[in-house]
Every structure is written in structure tokens, then in C-alpha cells.
Amino acid sequence: MAQELGQLPMGWLLTALIVIVVASGFSIGRIRAERYLIAGGQKFHSRGNYHGYYVAMWGFIPPLLVAGLYVLFAKPTALGLLSSELPEAFHTLSSAELQSYLESVANAAAMGGYSGSDLVFATVTGRYLELWGSLKGATLALMLAGAVTGIMYARRKVSPAFRARLRVERGAEAFLFLCAAIAIATTVGIVASLLYESLRFFAEVPFTDFLFGTRWNAQTSAEFGALPLFFGTFMIALIAMLVAAPVGLFSAIYLSEYASVRTRRYVKPLLEMLAGIPTVVYGFFALLVIAPAVRASALGINSFLIELGAANGPVLAAQPTSALAAGLVMGVMVIPFVSSLSDDVINAVPDSLRDGAFAMGATKSETIKQIILPAALPGIVASMLLAVSRAIGETMIVVMAAGQRARISFDPSTDLTTITVQIVALLTGETEFDSPKTLSAFALGLVLFVVTLIFNLIALRVVQRYRDKYE
């Protein structure tokens, strides 16, 4: 019996139960209110519908809480109960082995039970299904009980004087607040999970070794000096900004100061298309077109220098994937991040400043260089900061076109690796949890999060100040 319960499709059942409860709660409340009305009693404060909503709300919240608890705790509880029941023979297993055994039991149970020849496994799976089944049954019963209690309680309140609408609206407002609070919950979740895993990492690897070590070899041996990764990230972001900063800024100046309304209307969306192209597409483009071109030119420079006699061996590394290829393509990707915001801040500079400069006889370019750009400078700096933060956090382009070797080299044609590349490399494929190798990815993630957060905060603050000044 309990084993059959274990096979219940809980997702559908929970949803169905909640739908039924809400519908019946609503009709119970509304019918009761309307009965009063038909009986010709006093005038109601709230319409019948609101009484219905009120009852439905009370029927909805208790089972929702139970369902939440089930989602969070059902599986760990069932596994915990199961492992406490396991016979002596299992106690010789290490905790990791036991964990993976339990995991396979849970998987087999999720597939609908085990029908193979391993008798022990079949028994354990059967027992697990039983435990899980009783948990599921208990959850459903509890939900139903909660719903009925809630509805009974709320039903008694329905009366002409009861201000159901106010209660419902307060409930709705609380729900709206919860939705807005998800944003905070996400941030808290990010910080908490990154910090927790990073602290476990730093318990094994000293903090200073991680930040200032120059040898990174997480895959093969336990060397966690992240300096080469920071260098690679910095180098590629620098190359990207060397492309994006002038191109983005001059595009913004041209579009906001020189271009006709028509040109602006057509060109601006085109420019912003660059930001809409998925980064994996940029990565493919970098790998397929730009990286071979960079390599070919590096080889050309090498042979040219050798021919000149300026060098007696290859000067540039000319790798098939290179920092320059990734940086150039990333630069193109972040152009719209620079140009859009710069465009906005240049447009926000009041026309009185322009008119004043023209009245003094300044040419357009002099006005821009000496009046508008200084006035818009904070905003422009903010747009650059946001672009840098984008470039640092960008993943797919560097994963595909920058390489895997952690080293410090100023040669742009060599392959460098970045923080994001290493996070992907460490967490895809076979990952064993709890090893410093996996945990180091979270330490890198923490660094990435903190650095981009600082850039963003500064940029947002500057933009805010700037807006306050001119708007």
C-alpha cells in the first residue's frame, strides 16, 4: 500500500489539490455571503466575491505551506530515515559511497521501482518507496486538513459587517511584496551559496595562496594560485575595452550630435542588435573566423621579423586560440553597452550649454570636446565601468576562443584563461562534490561577483548623481 503511494505523481496532485481547495473555498464564501443577502439582512460592507476570495485565501495558504515544506524536506527526510534503517553491513561504507548509493536508490524509485536481479538493492528501494509513500500520504492528508481548517475558520467570519475586501487586499499586497522580495532573496541566495562553498574551500587552501599564487593547476594537481586567471581576465577585458571604448564613444557622439533623426532611427537599433546576439554566436565567430586570422597574422609577423633579422626565432606564440581573438570579438559585443548609455547621458546635457558654446563661436567639435564631454564625463565613465563589468563576466566567448592555459603573458597571440573559463571547466563534466577542485570554482565565482558588484555599484551611483544634476 505504502509502496503504491510512493509512485504518486506529487506535482500534479499538489496542484490539483490546491486548485480544488481554492475553487471550493471561493464558492463556499461567496454562497454564504449571498445567502445573507437573499435573506434580506443588512447591507454588506464587501461584495460577495470578496468573501469568496477571503475564504479561498484561508484555504490556500495552509496547504501551500505544507507543499513548500514537502518540496524542501521530503527527499532528505525519506533518505535519512532509510539510512538509519540500513543494516550493519552498510556501516562500513564511507559517507560519500553511502551518499551515492542512496542517490541511486532514489533514482531507481523515481523510475517506478527496481526490477533487476540485485535483491538487496530491490529490498532497499522497496523500503524507500514505502517510506516515501507514507511521507507523501501524510503530506496530502496534512494539506487537506490544513485547507479544511482554514476554510472552516474563514467561513465563520463571513457576515455583513465583516470587511472582507480590506483583508483580501492586504493579503494581495503581501503577495506583491513577496514577489518583489524575490530579488533580495536571489541576491541573498547568491551571496550565501558562494560564501558557504568558498569558506569550505578556504578551509583547505589558504586565502593568500589563492589570491596571490601564480600557479593554477586545479584539474590535475592541487595548485590554486588564481593570479594567472585574474591576469587573463584583465588582459582580455583590456583588449575588449580598447575596441569598445573608442568605437562606442565616437558612435554615441556621432549619433547624438551629428546624425539626422532618420539616420539615428535606423542605425541605433542596428547597433543595439550587437547586444542582442547570443554570446555563444560570438564565441563561434571568434573560433571560426577571428582566431585563425589572428594566428595567421602572428605567424606572418614572426616570419617578417625573422627575415628582417630583428629576431632569430618566433616572437609571437601564434596559438590557435588567443587572447586577442577573444578580446576583439568581446570588444564588438560590448560596443552597444558603451554607446547606449553614453548616448543617453550626452542627450541629457542641457541644450543651454551647447547654445552657450555656439554663441561664443565654437565649432561643433569644440563644443563637444570642451563643453559636452566634460559635462557628460561621469555618465561616460559609468558606461565604461558597466562595459568592463560585462567583459569580465562574459563567459562563452572566452570559453570558446581564449584557451585553457593559465599563465601570465603579455603576448596577445598567446592563449590565456580567465575566471569564467575555469569555472566552466571545473563544473562541467565529471564533478565530485566537496573536492577542493570543485569548491575552487565557487571561490572564483565569489571573486567575480564581488568585482562586478563593485563596478556596478560605482557606475549606478555615478549615473544616479548625474541624473539628479541635470534632470
Binding site: V71, K75, P76, R165, E169, A172, E173, L176, F177, C179, A180, I182, A183, I184, T187, I190, S193, Y196, L249, F250, S251, I253, Y254, L255, Y258, L270, L271, M273, L274, G276, I277, P278, T279, V280, V281, Y282, F284, F285, L288, V332, T363, S365, E366, K369, L386, S389, I392, G393, T395, M396, M400, T420, I423, V424, L427, T428, G445, L448, T452, L460
Partner: protein, 522 residues
């Protein structure tokens, strides 16, 4: 009266200065045009490079033969269930191969030659045929026309991609004369000088280029040539077919040991093509097949469905939640510290690198909540959190665009604040909110990095049917195909990119249309 010399603004120095300043102005404007030109050029270059690459995958070569589906080979034990028929790849494969082998006696001679011939088609290429027969058992014993994709190496050669080959018409051949050595013969060809000129133009890279002569269904390899005379070694077909036939030369610069197809395989492929057995057909299997380790059999269907399921989860979570959050912040939030923190938070969250959301998904959703790895459910949730700030910001802008008079009017006739918002403001703001939501969804559809971290990069050969099945998504498929070494994957990857970009363009088009239909000036 002033004349030109006395006017300080007309003096030579002043005019020169003015000219300099005007030139500087022109230069400055020029920088802007150059910058804009560079950005637009990059966009056009990127898209055309990918489109050009993808065009190579729009068609592919199949072997189309009329085949008798003999029961002896398909059902060796007399009777079989559909699963057993599907599993009998070997039977179907030998059926196709043996049919082709009857045309080429030389391929039957040795084990090596037979193996070389077999590799024209990958074994798994008959799987769709096997599935079709398993579904419709009445086909067994009948003769039907079947399409079997050609191995990707041969396909790439026939498309002229790799190894690169040069095709030349060299006019008529004389009747063949027997040469001293066994199997070789000598013919005279009209315009052989074209071939020698071409070889000279390619330049010598150490190895001699291979030159094949094709006459109808016969292919020979040139052993040596001297002004108009060539000594030809026959690879497939018959000597007498060269007699007076118009001959085509195929020059392959790369040496045989450096390519994935041998001269003999090329000869067979050319002969089959001349016979009309090899046909170039539209590559629809890119949309109807699932992933495979063989490029010619792989398709994006599983990833397409995986992306769709992921997007459903993302939309179901992020759109209502984003809209409700925006309503709270815009209409109900008291001006206090908590609200301010939420605001700063949302702005910051919008700029957090996407990979960090992947880390959150890996620890919280997979670790703490124990949700299944590689599932669209988890991917969808992570992407929902990722685009939530985008949706909220767009929804708030839409709410702000509704004039306060609407709210005041509703309140004036006795509506509560909640009623004013839900009955009057929200319906007016909804189109604007939806356009923002679609843009957020477009961003989510292109995201790759967070999905990699929650394991959606697994090789998925079956179309996922629910949000908890193992699945992958289009951008992740692009990433994994791009990391494959074989050249044949490049056009395939580019083709999937074109599909992805097409979907994104459609979504943006929907936004434009929505805006045009509902745009309202107050």
C-alpha cells in the same frame, strides 16, 4: 571703412586658423562615421560569415536506391517485434551496402577494399530506415526507394569543402591503348595542358597532387602524363568508357595520406554521382533528427524542444512574478529603506554575470533542493531569476507610462487602490509589460553559461517530453557542436545558429508589432 586687411577676422592668420578649426571639425565627425562604420561592418561581417557557413549545411548528399527489403536479412529469425527490427542495424546496413557493391566488382576483391567501400556510409545512417520499417512492417519484402545519408567526409568532398578539389573539363579522350603494365592504359586527351597549367598554378608543396579523370561512370587516376598522353590506372568502371567520351579532370592538391577520403573512395563517390545514385537533397533532418555523433545524422530537434520546455518554465515563473513585483514597487511600496534596498538590488542583479546565476542553480537548486540535473525545470528557474530584473524594469516603465489621471479617476469614483491598479492601470500597462517580457525571454533563449553549470550540456539523443527529463538547449548545442573537431560540424553549427537567430528575430518582430498596435500617446 574696413577693408579685408584691417578686419582681424579676415586676416590671413585668422582665415588659416578658421580653416584649421573647420578641418578639425570635419575630422572629428569623420571619427564618428568611422566608429559607426566599424560597428556596423562587424555586425554585417558576423552575420554574413555565419550565414555563408550555414549555407553549406542547407543541403547534403544521400544515396537514393530502390531496395528490396528482403525478409531474410531484416528478419533473420523469421519473426520480430518492432524493437528487434529497429535494433537490427547490421541487417539494414548490409542490405544497402550489398546493393551498392553489385555495381563495383573491384570493391568486393579484398577485405580492405570492402571496408573502404563500407565507410562511404556510416552504419548508424540506416537507423531512420530501420525505424520506418519497424513502424510499417508491411514494407518488408517490398521494393521501396530509400534515402541513406552519405558519410560526412565524402559529403564534404562532394560539396567541394574538404579536401578541396578542382574540376576541369578537358575535352575528348582517344581510344585507350594497352600499356606495358597490368591494369594501366594510355589515352590521349584533348586539352591536357589545362591540367598541367592548373597544377603549376597551385604550386608544388612537396607532394604531387592527385589527378583523376572521369568519363561517365568510370574513374581513372593519372600515373604520368606527357604532352597530351596520359597513363591512366583504372579505379572503377571500364577502359572502353573513355573511348571518345568527354572527360572531366579532378585535381586534389592535398596528398592522399593527409585526407579522410582515399582516391578510391572519391572514385566510387564520383561514379555513384554520375549514375545518379548519390543525390544532393535539402537537409531537413537538421530539424527532425536528434543529436548524433555522426554529423550527417545529427539534428537539433531535441535541443529545440529542450529550449521550448525551458522557456515555458522561465515564462511561467518570471512574467507573473516580474509583473507583480513591478506593481508593488511602482504602486504600493512605501518610501522606506527596505524598498530602497530592493530597488538597488534589482538594478544590481540586472548586471550580475550570468554564470553566477549558474553557480546559484548548481548549489541551491541541484544541491539543496535536490532537483534533477540537466532538466529544463532547473534551467528554466535559473533563467527566470536571470531575467527577472529585466522584466521588472520593463514592467515598471510600462506602469509609469500610464498617466496618474487614470488612477485618480478610479479612486474618485470610489475604487480602492488595489481595484484602481488591477481594474484600470494594469490593463493599460499590459502590452508594454509583455514587450519587455518578450525581450527578456529573447535574452534567456540565448543564454548558455548558466545552463552549462547545471548540466544541460549532456549528450541527449531523445526528445525530452517533460520538464524533468534530461535535455539540452539550442545555445548549448551550438557550444557542444562547435567543440567537435571534425570539419563537417562547422556548417551544421552555423545552421543551428541561423535557426536560433531566426527565432530571436521573430521574437523581436513580435515586440515591434505589439508596440505598433498598442502604442498610445497620452
Amino acid at each position: 571703412m574696413n577693408n579685408a586687411q584691417d578686419n582681424p577676422f579676415r586676416s590671413e592668420k585668422a582665415l588659416k586658423r578658421l580653416r584649421r578649426r573647420r578641418n578639425a571639425d570635419m575630422r572629428f565627425q569623420g571619427y564618428g562615421i568611422v566608429a559607426l562604420g566599424f560597428a556596423l561592418f562587424a555586425l554585417v561581417f558576423l552575420i554574413s560569415a555565419i550565414a555563408w557557413k550555414a549555407s553549406g549545411a542547407s543541403t547534403y548528399h544521400v544515396i537514393r536506391v530502390d531496395l528490396e527489403l528482403s525478409p531474410q536479412t531484416i528478419l533473420p529469425e523469421g519473426d520480430a517485434s518492432p524493437e528487434e527490427i529497429t535494433r537490427n542495424i547490421e541487417g539494414f546496413y548490409s542490405l544497402v551496402r550489398n546493393d551498392l557493391l553489385t555495381r563495383f566488382p573491384e570493391a568486393n576483391e579484398t577485405v580492405q577494399s570492402k571496408r573502404a567501400f563500407s565507410s562511404l556510409i556510416d552504419r548508424m545512417a540506416v537507423l531512420p530506415l530501420a525505424r520506418e520499417v519497424a513502424d510499417e512492417p508491411h514494407l518488408i519484402g517490398q521494393t521501396t526507394s530509400v534515402d541513406v545519408p552519405l558519410s560526412d567526409d565524402v559529403d564534404m568532398f562532394l560539396k567541394g569543402a574538404a579536401p578541396r578539389a578542382i574540376f576541369l573539363r578537358v575535352g575528348e579522350a582517344s581510344s585507350p591503348m594497352r600499356n606495358a603494365e597490368e591494369g594501366d592504359f594510355k589515352i590521349e586527351v584533348d586539352r591536357l595542358n589545362k591540367v598541367s597549367a592548373k597544377i603549376a598554378a597551385i604550386g608544388q608543396h612537396g607532394a604531387e597532387p592527385t589527378v583523376l579523370l572521369v568519363a561517365d561512370k568510370s574513374v581513372g587516376r593519372i600515373k604520368s602524363m606527357e604532352d597530351g598522353d596520359v597513363i591512366l590506372e583504372i579505379l572503377t568502371g571500364r577502359q572502353d568508357q573513355f573511348d571518345g567520351a568527354s572527360v572531366k579532370a579532378v585535381i586534389i592538391p592535398s596528398p592522399e595520406d593527409q585526407r579522410s577520403v582515399s582516391d578510391q573512395q572519391i572514385a566510387w563517390a564520383l561514379a555513384l554521382k554520375a549514375e545518379g545514385v548519390i543525390k544532393r537533397v535539402p537537409h531537413f533532418s537538421l530539424l527532425t533528427h536528434t543529436d548524433s555523433t555522426y554529423p550527417e545524422l545529427a539534428g537539433a530537434l531535441a535541443a529545440l524542444v529542450g529550449s521550448l520546455l525551458t522557456m515555458l518554465v522561465t515564462a511561467a515563473v518570471s512574467i507573473p512574478m516580474g509583473i507583480f513585483a513591478a506593481i508593488f514597487l511602482e504602486e504600493f511600496a512605501p518610501k522606506n529603506r527596505l524598498t530602497q534596498i530592493i530597488e538597488v538590488n534589482i538594478n544590481n542583479l540586472a548586471a550580475v554575470p550570468s554564470i553566477v546565476f549558474g553557480l546559484l542553480g548548481a548549489t541551491l537548486l541541484l544541491g539543496t533542493f535536490g532537483l534533477p540535473r540537466s532538466a529544463p525545470l532547473v534551467g528554466g528557474l535559473v533563467l527566470a531569476l536571470l531575467i527577472l530584473p529585466v522584466v521588472i524594469i520593463a514592467a515598471r516603465a510600462a506602469l509609469r507610462a500610464v498617466p496618474p489621471s487614470i488612477r485618480s479617476g478610479a479612486l474618485a469614483v470610489g475604487a480602492s487602490r488595489m481595484q484602481a491598479v488591477f481594474h484600470h492601470v494594469l490593463p493599460l500597462a499590459l502590452p508594454g509589460m509583455l514587450t519587455g517580457a518578450i525581450l527578456g525571454m529573447a535574452r534567456a533563449l540565448g543564454e548558455t553559461a548558466p545552463l552549462l553549470l547545471i548540466g544541460m550540456v549532456a549528450f541527449v539523443a531523445e526528445v525530452p517530453s517533460s520538464t524533468t527529463d534530461e535535455a539540452t538547449a539550442l545555445p548549448v548545442l551550438i557550444y557542444s557542436w562547435a567543440s567537435n573537431a571534425e570539419r563537417a560540424w562547422e556548417p551544421m553549427t552555423a545552421a543551428v545558429i541561423v535557426i536560433l537567430l531566426a527565432i530571436l528575430v521573430l521574437m523581436n518582430l513580435a515586440v515591434v508589432l505589439l508596440r505598433r498596435k498598442f502604442e498610445r500617446r497620452w
